[in-house]
Symmetry: C2
Subunit: 431 residues, 2 copies
C-alpha cells in the first residue's frame, strides 16, 4: 500500500538535509565547549576545513549551491526541547548534571555563526571565524555535510538495485568485522568515534545498531549525541587537540607555551573527574609531554593514543605510570587512531592483561566502502576541520607523526624547539 | 510515518500464505498440462513428495498444522482474471495463443484436488492422487510450501538485525555470481529455473530482479509464471521427465515401453515447434535414447542435459547431430543440472563456439544460503515431488546418474534391460 501522504510530504522538501540536529555532533565537542565557555569565552578563533587527500577534488565533485544549502540548513538549527531535556537530565559517565545551567542556556540560544566559502584548485576553502564556543561547534556538522555530499555525488548515477547491493556489501563487511571482534573475549571495550568521517548519517546509525546487536555491552557507546539519544546508549568522549592548540597559540612567551598543554588539563581537572580525566599527550609530542608532566596528572584515569606507533605510545604511558608510582592495571588506555579489526586485535592481545584497554573506532567503522564502487570513489579520505588561528595567531599541532603536523613552517619549528621534539617517525595517514 | 491501515490489515491474516497464485508455478507444468489434457486426460496419477536428503528431518522442523494450513490455502486458489488474461494474451517463444481455448477453460475452472499427508520417521509423506492434469499441478506449490516452511522454521528465532545481515550476505553472494557471469561475454543465455527449490517466493523474485539488472538480455527469463507476469519478462520451459515416466508406466509391453519416450515427443511434435522442441534424453539413459531415436527428432531445436556428466552429455548430443547430418552450431544445448557459476563458466567456455548454449539455473540461484547460518540449517537440500504411479502401475526414472534413479528395484531392473542401459557413473546429488 503506498503511503500517499508520506510520499507527498517527502516531495515537498527542497533539500534532503544531512545534519538535522545541533546534537548530531561529537559529545566531546559539547564537553570542550562547556570548558571553553567557562574559561576562554572571549577568544576569537578561526576553524578551517583541510582536505589532506588532495586527489579527492571536492569542489569538482560537490556542487557549490548544494553545499551552501546544506550549510545554511545547519545554521537554521537550534536545540530542541527534547534534546535539551536529554542533555540536562542524562547521566554521563555516571554523573548527573554534567552540563551546568549557564552553559545549557547558552546552548539553547545558540545558532551557528556565518561561514566563509570559496573554491580554489578543485577544493573548497571553508572557514568559520568568531567566538570560540560558537565556531567550535561547526567542526562536526561541516565535516558530516562534506563527507555525505561526497557520498551522494559518487552514488548519484547508481540504480536502485546497484545501491541495494552496495549497502548489502558494506553491511556484510561490517558484520564480519563485528563477528571478528566478538572473538576477542568479554574484556573488549569499544566505542563508535566515527561521526566526523561517516559515509552518511543513516549509515552511521546502522553501524551503531550493528555494534549494539553484535557486541552487547562490549560496545560502550557512541561519540554521536543524537544517535546516543535515539538509541538510548551512552554518549562517549573527553577532550581533543583543539584545547591545547588554542591555549598554546594564546601563550605570550615560550615558557607559557611550554605550560599550555598542562594548563588545559588543569582547567579540565577542576571541572571533571573519573572517566573524563583522559590525557591526550601527543599534541606536541608524547615523550616530552610525559617527561615534563606534573605529578597530579599521573593520578588521572587514562591516556588516549591518537598518533604515532600505538604500541610504542602505550608502552610509553605504562612506563610513565610506573615511574610515577601508579599501577598501570588500574589505568585506561584508549586507542583512537586509524583503527581497523587487525590493529584492534593486535593491541587488545598485547595490552589487555596489562592495562584497561578501550577503543574509539572511527573511519573504518562508519565509512569502510573501500573497493565497493568502480574507481574506489567511496574510499574514505582524510578530511579535517581544525582551529587554525586564535586571537590572530596561528595554531600548531605536531602530534607523534610528522605527517599529521599542522601550522606555518616557522611556527612548527619554534614549537619543536620549545617542546624539545626530536626525530619523529613518519607514518602514512590512511584516514 | 506508520501506515496504520496496512499494519492493521496485515495483522488480520491467520497465516502468511506462501503460494498466493495458481501461476506461481513453472511454465513447463502448464505446457505439459495442456499436452496431458489433450492426449491423456483420463490417466489416474499419484504424485509423491520425496526428500532425498534424509538428514533434513522435515517433520521435526515443520509443524503439521502449519503445513496443512498452507496446503489448504493452495487448494483455495483459482486463476484470477488478470492471470488468465496474461496466459491467453501473451506471446511465448514468439507465438500467440500458446494455450488453446479448451485448456484455458479447464484451467480457469481448476481447484487443486485433495492431498494426503502423514508423518513417518521424521519425514512427511505427502501424496496427491487423481486425474493427471489436475494432480500434476500440485508439484511446484507443494515443493515451494515445504521449502519455505523449512526456511521459516530455521530463521524463526533470529533477530531483526541478524535477518538483515543474513539477506545482505545472500544478496552479496548472488551479486558476485552475477558479476562473474557478466564476465562470460555477450553470448551467454541463462534463465531462472529455481522455483521448486527456492528459499522463498520473495527471495526468488529478488534473485530474478538481480539477474535482470545485472545481465540485461543475457538473462532470458524465468520458469516462474507469476514472476514472469509481474516483472514483464519471458516465461521459460519446455517439458520434463514426468511425461515419459507416465507414458512408460502405461505401456502394456516391453516393445511399447521402448517406444514410450518417442511417443511423448511425437505428441509434443504435433503441438509445438521452434524453441519448444527440446529433447530431454536422459529419462532412461541418454546413450540408448539417441541410438534408437527416429530421424525426425534430429530436426528438433535442442537437447536439455539434466543428469550425468554434462560435458559427456553435450558431446553425445553433438556427435548424434553430426551422425544424423545436422549442423550442431544451429542447435541448442540447455544445461539444467546442479549448476553454479564455476560449472556454467566451464560449460560455456567449452561449448559456446560449437553449439548454442543456454543455462537453466536452479537451486544455487534461488537458494544458495550455504554456510550463512549456524549448523548450515539453510543449505539447500534435495526435495522432489514426482509422479510415482499411473493407473496403478509404478513409474520409473533411471536418468544418467544411478543416484537419481526412482522406482521399485525390480522395475528399475526391467527398465534397464529394456532400454539396454549399461554401466552408469554414479555422481553425488548436491541439490
Amino acid at each position: 500500500m503506498v503511503d500517499i501522504a508520506a510520499r507527498v510530504y517527502n516531495h515537498k522538501w527542497k533539500i534532503d538535509p544531512i545534519v538535522r540536529s545541533l546534537i548530531d555532533t561529537d559529545f566531546y565537542k559539547l564537553l570542550m565547549c562547556q570548558s571553553v565557555f567557562r574559561n576562554r569565552p572571549e577568544t576569537n578563533v578561526t576553524f578551517s576545513l583541510i582536505n589532506r587527500s588532495k586527489d579527492v577534488r571536492l569542489a569538482d565533485l560537490i556542487d557549490e549551491g548544494e553545499l551552501r544549502e546544506q550549510l545554511d540548513h545547519v545554521r537554521s538549527l537550534s536545540l530542541t526541547r527534547g534534546e535539551s531535556t536529554w542533555l540536562r537530565g542524562n547521566t554521563f559517565y555516571g554523573k548527573r548534571q554534567m552540563f551546568r545551567p549557564d552553559f545549557m542556556e547558552f546552548l539553547e540560544g545558540l545558532r551557528l555563526p556565518a561561514y566563509h566559502l570559496e573554491k580554489r584548485d578543485g577544493q573548497y576553502e571553508l572557514t568559520f571565524e568568531g567566538p570560540w564556543p560558537q565556531v567550535m561547534l561547526w567542526e562536526i556538522p561541516a565535516l558530516a555535510v562534506l563527507m555525505e555530499l561526497r557520498s551522494r555525488a559518487v552514488t548519484k548515477d547508481m540504480g536502485r538495485f546497484e545501491l541495494q547491493i552496495l549497502y548489502a556489501r558494506a553491511m556484510t563487511r561490517l558484520w564480519e568485522k563485528v563477528e571478528a571482534l566478538r572473538g576477542l573475549g568479554p574484556g573488549l571495550r569499544i566505542a563508535d568515534f566515527g561521526t566526523r568521517r561517516r559515509h552518511g548519517f543513516l549509515w552511521q546509525d546502522w553501524c551503531v545498531q550493528a555494534m549494539i546487536e553484535g557486541l552487547g555491552d562490549r560496545f560502550t557507546g557512541t561519540s554521536n549525541c543524537l544517535i546516543a539519544m535515539r538509541r538510548d546508549i551512552e554518549a562517549i568522549g573527553t577532550n581533543a587537540h583543539e584545547l591545547p592548540m588554542v591555549y598554546a597559540a594564546l601563550a605570550d612567551s615560550d615558557a607559557e607555551l611550554r605550560e599550555a598543554p598542562y594548563h588545559v588539563l588543569a582547567d579540565w581537572h577542576e571541572e571533571h573527574d573519573g572517566n573524563l580525566r583522559i590525557i591526550l599527550p601527543d599534541t606536541y609530542g608524547s615523550d616530552g609531554f610525559f617527561a615534563n608532566a606534573p605529578d597530579w596528572l599521573a593520578g588521572w584515569t587514562g591516556v588516549r593514543i591518537d598518533s604515532g606507533d600505538p604500541v610504542a605510545g602505550a608502552e610509553t604511558a605504562i612506563r610513565w605510570w610506573r615511574e610515577r608510582g601508579e599501577d598501570p592495571r588500574k589505568k585506561l588506555i584508549i586507542f583512537s587512531d586509524g583503527l581497523d579489526v587487525a590493529m584492534i586485535e593486535r593491541l587488545y592481545n598485547r595490552f589487555h592483561d596489562r592495562v584497561k584497554v578501550s577503543f574509539g573506532w572511527g573511519t573504518l567503522l562508519t565509512n569502510d566502502f573501500r573497493g565497493l564502487v568502480a574507481g574506489d570513489g567511496l574510499a574514505p579520505f582524510s578530511l579535517v576541520c581544525k582551529a587554525v588561528a586564535a586571537n590572530g595567531r596561528p595554531t600548531v599541532k605536531l602530534s607523534d607523526n610528522p605527517a599529521k603536523a599542522t601550522g606555518p613552517a616557522d611556527e612548527i619549528a619554534r614549537y619543536k624547539d620549545v617542546f624539545a621534539v626530536g626525530a619523529q617517525e613518519r607514518q602514512a595517514v590512511l584516514v
